[in-house]
């Protein structure tokens, strides 16, 4: 297969990239409230869409690359290489750091393509499809609850689970990475909207609490 996406000089291309919410970075900085709630973009993560029947041979081969394929809604799996989110019964999203991408010296996409082989299913490089927001702090859940109707109470939404849902009326993946930290994966075209929505939701926590 021709690898048309591999640039001759990766570093030159890397410097020319702009992430979907890069223009909001200064606003994220000023909008974050130290010790209360913080928002930042984690740009250019490597993301690969995988569709395969979990129980098939190809599913087992792909699972050996990703460190398992999650079995049910909300579950995630992973190893030191990547985290895999459940999108549907036969659909998964593999998320890894930027450096895992083949164009930057990594081998994640190629490893997944080879694991699928000629079997039914698909492995698609979706790194440009979504960006990543990290919302953290003791008020992070309050901010999310303004635009997300899932039960986000820790007793229902536990650390290490991920759900596809709507946040601020747009579809996004929501991953809980810690007691007070979340990662949100909106599509690139929604990054501006969702970034501003979250900033708006954070604004009240910059003012002294009204008793």
């Amino acid at each position: 297969m021709a690898e048309t996406a591999t640039p001759v000089n990766p570093e030159a291309l890397r410097a020319a990239r702009r992430s979907p919410a890069s223009h909001l970075a200064p606003s994220f900085e000023t909008g974050s409230v130290s010790g209360t709630v913080a928002l930042k973009e984690i740009p250019f993560q490597t993301m690969v869409g995988v569709r395969v029947a979990r129980e098939s041979d190809a599913g087992a081969r792909l699972a050996s690359v990703t460190g398992g394929l999650p079995a049910a809604c909300g579950e995630i799996s992973g190893n030191e290489r990547a985290t895999t989110l459940w999108l549907g019964p036969d659909e998964f999203l593999v998320v890894a750091p930027e450096s895992a991408h083949d164009s930057l010296g990594g081998d994640l996409v190629r490893a997944l393509v080879e694991a699928l082989g000629e079997d039914p299913g698909q492995v698609v490089d979706l790194s440009a499809n979504r960006t990543t927001f990290e919302l953290s702090g003791v008020r992070a859940r309050d901010v999310l609850e303004k635009g997300c109707s899932l039960d986000l109470h820790p007793r229902a939404f536990r650390t290490g689970t991920a759900l596809a849902t709507e946040i601020g009326n747009i579809p996004a993946m929501l991953l809980k990475t810690g007691e007070t930290s979340f990662r949100i994966f909106p599509r690139a075209s929604f990054a501006d909207f969702l970034g501003r929505w979250l900033l708006d939701g954070m604004r009240e926590f910059a003012s002294p609490e009204v008793p």
Binding site: C73, P89, L163, T165
Partner: protein
């Protein structure tokens, strides 16, 4: 707002779903043999049930899977949710403590 229990994801807001029309409309076994009227009726004609109606839904912003639902078109009560390919569940509700609803022997409906 309906709260719909996706068979894969559990209860979610209605806004995460899209409606897919009447369920169990079988594709004609031999479409070539149909007249234009029969073909049009297969394509466009659907029941307009008052009461329990079997319909298809898709969880668009969740797992993106289709499923069937038995919903009362008057009360919006969701009576059953079942997977694609499964037959419509037979939900003849037993009449409890309602003498007016029992049919006297020999009476015609």
């Amino acid at each position: 707002m309906l709260l719909i229990s996706c068979p894969n994801c559990g209860p979610r807001d209605e806004t995460e779903f899209h409606y897919g029309g009447q369920a169990h409309v079988a594709y004609p076994e031999n479409p070539d043999a149909l007249t234009d009227r029969q073909w049009a009726e297969y394509l466009f004609y659907r029941d307009n049930t008052k009461g329990a109606f079997a319909e298809r839904w898709v969880h668009s912003t969740g797992c993106r899977q289709w499923f069937n639902m038995l919903r009362d078109t008057v009360s919006y009560d969701i009576q059953a949710i079942y997977r694609m390919g499964e037959p419509r569940p037979d939900l003849e509700r037993p009449v409890v403590n309602n003498p007016a609803a029992t049919t006297p022997e020999g009476a015609t409906k």
